[in-house]
Subunit: 424 residues, 3 copies
């Protein structure tokens, strides 16, 4: 990809200090929070029904001997041979579904194997062995330098033994800046606050301090309550009451999911003028995807418009066309396509093409949303470069775009808009 | 398509024993439940306004002579020449809109004409004549054997003079298994039940018996109440009351649309461990498409996760990307793409491509959703084979996928995952 | 594009009588209603917070010196150097985001520059200079005649110094007919009505008169209250009360957004049998896109079905697949793709392809939705011709469609269905 402009990764996370183990590696290739269906089926002596869901008592309805006794469900069909009772769900026993068998898994084997001196698409086992052989530090260094990313904006709000932005920059021979996760800020403040008063003061200080130290804010309100929240800023007494309530009921380390406090955080960030990144679209199963449609933010977007604070919609998939619309009609709205390219692999150009429909080209930003594995920087960067190159080549070949425009727009997405937006 | 693996059709219906007539043939090419707009416009002496909608009385508002008298609406514009009063809706009179003029209609003429020794894309009339000449049995035999499908999972819950699974298997020289439609089970039980008690007992017996005789369950709860139903299992007394209410008010042959009983059916099925197929996405106008977004099932999916029972989302279009997400993050969720390919014809590879974005490859299943016409097996199978071949050829040509992976994933979709899931 | 059939533009608006200025030209390339982010950030002495949103009072929460004083927000961070306080939102100061840098802007420079004797993709400045040099009348004449459009259906409900349908027809050497915007009809009636009684009489007369003078109705109910309105017709006394309430509270020139009156308009139009165009999908930021999903019209569509009055869903993007479904299952539903192609430019064939999935081919209509700039006729027409040609060439090359069918369907979309529907 000669001549492709250097990349600013406007949204990523740290990489692991060591490991992961072969078994854990695969879990970084998915947004699922549990292993793929390889375990024996739960009704073969597996876990009980979910908490809060009583064993289903259809039995009582027959008047005869209970056809559906309580757990374990295997015994539900006394007359049915065990083999047959099992066969219904062989999907949970047979050859496993592997998270390597995804577009992300295939893209990783394609683009990252050569960075470790292996053939593209080599088997996962071979890849993982070579990874162990080289060691985490060397793999990280190789991947980061092969990614073509010069600047990293790191959301430091994820837990785990991750490289700091400074360490990341060093490994990459690049530059790194912090993006502060609002909810984490509040949760940290709650961890140390003596009372409501000091909690809220701590929060204010944290937001203010972030303006000095960070390049933007990030919110995962989508995960906590969805995006259809009350769009206006909460009032002072509301905030006090909510803070009191939350602190009283919070278990140590507990997550913030109080709507009033979440809105207080958002509005505090909006008031600073720093770009505010908002998770939208798909993520792990902790969220309800249909409540993460960025269009649900419309009233919040309208309410914040007079402040001019840039709102950067992250990920967006599968609602990226709606995100493109928002970027088109609201001057302060931008859209990112990080996770959406990494996870769609060979389909990345189709997804990027859809984002390049309504959105003004100066409103779109590259990112990787990489987390844990340094491979994810390489995958995100390569997929974007390939997708953008192929899309624009098609358009210039058909004379729909000029070559000069193609170059100019590519530079905007790669780094231009991010540089402008984050003052880099 | 040499070397393409044999297909397991994981969701289909029977084919007609005889016919259909030329006129009726077309109705099998659409999800509409009425003919295309060929009839004279209703206000030229057509049907009265819909039941429950009173003739519109804007007339009363003018104080002058009624501009909008009651039905028939043709007379609404006394001062307007009849020709002009008609011309507004010539779409309902002029050359008809034909359901042959759809992607499905074009695909059928392309792929099925040669099976009847005709040229691809021959005119519909020619096709229908040849069909009559050969006779239903011969057409059925030819189509089924040309389809490349070796195994059929037949939802036996649709009415009509259809071949049984056994007859289908014989005509196809293949294998057929039953999938039990839950709502039909309840409706049949209601047809014969003496009282609430025997109804519920019959229902329990039916579910239990199905585990012995069938490979899975199917639910059309999407049609009856949409997918945003209360996710948990109903309690015993709730079920009793609902059953009593329904049986009391039911006209013979009446459909089940009671939410409590529908949920009771779903949870009864989940408890068995047999794969449960759920209609999602588009279908006939009986449903509200926006209430059939599979994402509306998220809480039900969460509630059922501990059981491990596979949930297979059918059709999904145009919400197939959301279905792919669910398949990606919930181990027990699978997605099917039957109807979505058949009805999009020349666009099938684009639709399949979108499903191949987030969904792990081991979570996707081929089907035809064929119903009535044996042609629909050929169309569904050919479109899948063409689409999958073309997609993967594009990806291997660009080196995004390896050839070996392409073959492996094709086999998963064609039959591997279905074999595993249904114990075939 | 030799041999491409002449076009009927089934939905457009007038073009400007003069101008626009260079600065204003760009605003016609976007659905945004404000300039792109070029102004200094509002918190550098810009506008106050939005009306109704009090200055955010997080300050009160700290107990210390207010970290977030009232407006102007620049002073919010006394300890932070001004440069840094600014740098957060450099996006609102630096090189501007231009609405020329959009798919529509690129398509305009490609297709319209040659009409003005310039090279495709010439710089915007050069284009605008040449435009001024030639003068509005000449540019208009050239564009309209280059567009390949023979007949224009003009929604006359937009304000501004626009050419009348007659003038448009003359400049284009074509034919033009009126489409009456229902809400404008009501607003005009309200402007002159003495009382509720005369208002409603005027409204009835207006609808009746339109049947004589116009080819269809148009509604922007999507903008006013969204598409999830009560589907049935309102009763007489309801209408009277609503009219009284609205007239009493209305400021001169005020828009109609009363749900009862909006529904009264829709049902009055449905009763006439004239095709009724409904805005759906994207538009300017006045609407909430998620409330403009055409599927929200499902119950209204069902309720109006017995009348047979054609309902034409306009634009539809990004919900065009749902629109295709509605066109497939409801005989009186049609879909238009005007705005959706113009604004997606090089991606138009992908968007059109998606609409050509479920919708019967006899249910789709070409339009440009051109407004203000005569260039938008050229862009809309060329993008459709290119997209349709390329799509069908791809399908015939793969033998998925026959050449004859491709020609036939192209003619349907270009003019056949519109001619039939509007009696042209």
């Amino acid at each position: 990809m000669p001549g492709f402009p250097p990349l600013i990764d406007q949204h990523c996370h740290g990489v692991l200090r060591s490991g992961p183990s072969h078994a854990a590696f695969e879990t970084y290739l998915t947004e699922a929070d549990v292993p793929p269906p390889t375990a024996p089926p739960p009704h073969a002596g597996g876990p009980p029904p979910p908490r809060g869901v009583p064993p289903y008592d259809g039995a009582l309805l027959t008047g005869g001997p209970p056809p559906y006794p309580g757990a374990p469900p295997t015994s539900a069909y006394p007359g049915v041979p065990a083999a047959s009772a099992h066969s219904p769900a062989p999907g949970t026993t047979g050859p496993s579904v592997s998270y390597f068998d995804t577009q992300l898994g295939f893209a990783l084997r394609r683009w990252c194997a050569p960075v470790l001196d292996l053939a593209p698409h080599c088997p996962p086992e071979e890849y993982l062995e070579r990874r162990t052989e080289l060691g985490t530090a060397e793999v990280t260094r190789r991947m980061l330098r092969a990614s073509g990313i010069s600047t990293f904006l790191v959301d430091t709000g994820l837990p785990g033994p991750l490289l700091t932005p400074g360490e990341l920059a060093e490994a990459a021979d690049g530059e790194a800046h912090e993006v502060v996760r609002l909810e984490r800020l509040a949760e940290r403040a709650a961890d140390v606050a003596r009372d409501t008063h000091t909690f809220l003061a701590e929060l204010s200080d944290g937001v203010r301090e972030s303006v000095r130290t960070a390049r933007g804010f990030k919110s995962v309100v989508a995960y906590r309550i969805g995006l259809d929240f009350d769009p206006g800023p909460p009032g002072t007494s509301e905030i006090y009451s909510a803070a009191e309530r939350w602190l009283d009921s919070r278990v140590p380390g507990g997550r913030l999911s109080d709507p009033v406090l979440l809105r207080h955080l958002l509005w505090s960030a909006v008031r600073t003028g720093l770009p505010l990144q908002l998770h939208t679209g798909f993520g792990d199963p902790d969220l309800r995807l249909d409540r993460c449609d960025p269009l649900l933010l419309t009233d919040f977007i309208r309410a914040t418009a007079p402040y001019g604070t840039p709102l950067v919609l992250l990920h967006c998939y599968p609602y990226h066309r709606g995100a493109g619309y928002l970027a088109a009609v609201f001057p302060h709205v931008y859209a990112d396509f990080g996770l959406s390219l990494s996870h769609t692999g060979a389909r990345a150009r189709d997804v990027l093409g859809e984002l390049l429909e309504l959105a003004p080209f100066g409103k779109l930003l590259f990112s990787t949303d990489a987390y844990g594995l340094p491979e994810l920087y390489v995958v995100g960067a390569r997929l974007f470069r390939e997708a953008m190159t192929e899309l624009t080549q098609g358009w210039t070949r058909r004379e729909e775009w000029s070559h000069k425009d193609a170059e100019r727009v590519t530079a905007m997405l790669a780094n231009g808009t991010a540089a402008r937006l984050y003052g880099l």
